[in-house]
Amino acid sequence: MIKTLRWIVFLLAALAMNFPVIVTLVTSFKTARELASNPGLWIQSPTLANYATVLGKTDRFNIYAYLLNSTSAALIGTLVALAIAFPAAYAIARSAIGRRVLLPVVINLRAMPLVIFAIPLYMMYQWLGLLDTRLGLGLILAIVNIPLALVILVNAIGEVPIELDEAASVDGASAARIMLSVVLPVVRPAVTTCFIFGFITAWNEFLFGLMLTTSRAVPMTVGSSFFFAASGGGVQWGAASAVMILGALPPALLGLIMYRQISASMTAGAVKG
């Protein structure tokens, strides 16, 4: 009885939360003609034409290049953020330093509309030669990701019993070693969570992708706006939907693979504990 209720709640939640995704999916299989006459969720004459349009490579719209650019910039943005946030989170969690000033300042970055940094950053990038490069875009995405990574990691490391560190320390391990071989394995689920959220955030970033790239490093979000303009222009709903579906696939797949990892490691931990 309660089990049936759980299934009902699950189905309702999944349906409601995914409604726009479902509509997008349905729309991506409709022809322009059908879009104009049938707003329902039923497809009368399904077509793959929208996907053909989006996947067809032209010198103008090259989804493969955009996907590659996004993947590489998002990976840089996520890995760099993790690499520098992790030691900092360890230091903050295990000592009083950085908690009063650094942590709030960094968290604050997430609340800021980063657009105000657009112009000075643009000038700086111009000077450094980082304009229109994946590396340049990736480094900015790292800044976007650092606050969330820091919060989650400080919280997770704070939950790890300090006795673990102390035991290792008694055995003569250095602080760096304790961090990497004692604490890191324990907080792997949190690191993975940071990675997933970081990658998604970086993948979906639009503003800096727009400002800092021109042709070679254009990411998926910016490239796909070829089919629509959020304001001030026509929208090709069918193609826009297809491009949204394709654009959401990489983070979705990554999220699923990584998620299996987290749940596996959690189950392992529970058995051991």
């Binding site: 104009a36 994946r134 304001s231």
Partner: protein, 443 residues
């Protein structure tokens, strides 16, 4: 940790491709308006230009396009920072003053005058100097449903109902008329008549679709209404004149129609795409909309419900006759360009009659001098209408090419939609607009 390792390898692979050169560096780089017929046409003429015999390698043209979303914000950042990523960039009438400080003037020669005529060349001028070659012209059509209007014109009972509605809502007794001889009141009465909320027997849900989203382009659509009542942004002495009877009439008429239910309930978030969808669904009898929508709304493929019965005329008339907002898109020379000689050669070529005709044949919408447009009239009859309306009714508000023109539109969009949505009174909206515009447009 296998996954982590795999990830590292993948990252390494991807990073190693970072250094690969992108597109081959051509000699003249042109930044065009992305995604529409403008792009297709520019591609065609660029190809033709590059293929001309004797074209030096250094003069060959390569096109780049940003994407649509945030185009002008990106361009603003690029130009303000002195980017040399492109030699030639897009300019629009409403943004020419904003970008002029980062651009060089060009001398197009006498040919350009013969091709386009003075009034069109002016859409690319700022403070009397030529900053660009005009390529496309935008204006508005009044789209209407021929079948519905015809039926109304022949039905005596309907005419009586129409007169009754006009009397009740507009305080005038009006009779249905042919759309080409509409005044704004005739249009308003028609819009009310064809709205279910006003007239339950109406075959459509709404009589019109108003674009009332807080968006600068919507102000361009709107302002032909006050303009035909004699409205303008400022007078000859630079005094702001939006707090006028003309603007009041226009703003009140929009609000009256929206409040009466003659336009969709969500009109306050409607722009180009929503308007097309509403009219295309066959649920709106009229719509004042950009000429660019003509292709979609008359295509049996894209708008099966209305393609056969969509009519197009110039916007309705006010006491000062008809008025149709025009603005041009064009191409001009980036001050920081690396190859100015090559870029200038291309721009001059673009202003010749042959290039303009090729551009028109490839799907662009240039406004051409009457003698020139005659040569493509068979293939592009719509260009004749475009040139005709632009010549007869086209206007540019005083100050609408200045450096702050875009900001003025933004301000109007904010204040006027604030009034339409009932967030502030008409007096407040006009007063704030006037103060803001005086600040923006002061010399």
């Amino acid at each position: 940790m296998r996954l982590t390792k795999t990830l590292l390898v993948v990252t390494g692979l991807i990073l190693s491709t970072t250094g690969l050169p992108g597109l081959a560096q051509a000699k003249v780089t042109v930044l065009g308006w992305p995604g529409g017929s403008e792009e297709t046409a520019l591609r065609a003429v660029a190809e033709a230009y590059n293929a001309e015999p004797g074209r030096a390698e250094a003069d060959k043209v390569e096109l780049i396009f940003f994407n649509r979303d945030g185009f002008f914000d990106k361009l603003q950042a690029d130009m303000a920072a002195g980017s040399d990523a492109f030699d030639i960039n897009l300019v629009a009438t409403y943004s020419i003053g904003r970008y002029a400080p980062y651009m060089d003037t060009i001398d197009l020669g006498a040919d350009a005058q013969k091709t386009f005529g003075d009034s069109v060349l002016k859409t690319m001028q700022f403070e009397g100097r030529q900053y660009g070659v005009p390529t496309d012209l935008s204006l508005h059509f009044m789209y209407y449903r021929k079948d519905l209007i015809d039926a109304l014109l022949q039905d005596e009972a309907a005419k009586a109902k129409y007169a009754e509605i006009a009397q009740k809502y507009l305080g005038k007794s009006l009779a249905p008329k042919d759309p080409d001889s509409w005044t704004w009141d005739d249009w308003a009465a028609t819009a009310l008549y064809f709205s279910k909320q006003v007239n339950p027997a109406s075959p459509t849900r709404y009589g019109t679709v108003l674009q009332m989203k807080n968006l600068l382009f919507n102000m361009m659509v709107f302002q032909s209404l006050p303009r035909s009542y004699g409205g303008d942004w400022m007078d000859k002495d630079g005094k702001i004149t939006v707090d006028s009877a003309a603007y009041r009439t226009g703003l009140e008429l929009y609000k009256k129609l929206y409040d009466a239910g003659a336009s969709p309930k969500d009109s306050l978030s409607y722009e180009y795409a929503e308007t097309n969808a509403a009219f295309g669904a066959g649920q709106a009898a009229t719509a004042l909309q950009w000429n660019a929508a003509a292709g979609d709304l008359t295509s049996a493929e894209k708008s099966p419900a209305v393609a056969e019965v969509t009519g197009m005329v110039a916007p309705p008339a006010g006491p000062d006759g008809r008025a149709d907002h025009i603005h041009g898109l064009g191409l001009g020379l980036n001050k920081a360009a690396k190859n100015k000689e090559g870029a200038t050669r291309f721009l001059k070529w673009l202003a010749t009659e042959n290039a303009a005709l090729a551009y028109a044949k490839a799907g662009g919408s240039p406004a051409l001098a009457p003698e020139v447009v005659a040569k493509v009239a068979a293939e592009r009859p719509d260009l004749v209408k475009l040139g005709d309306f632009a010549g007869k009714y086209g206007y540019v508000m005083t100050g609408a090419t200045s450096a702050k023109a875009l900001s003025v539109y933004e301000l109007q969009a904010k204040e006027f939609t604030g009034y339409w949505s009932g967030q502030q009174s008409l007096d407040e909206a006009l007063k704030k607009t006037e103060t803001g515009m005086a600040e923006l447009l002061k010399k």
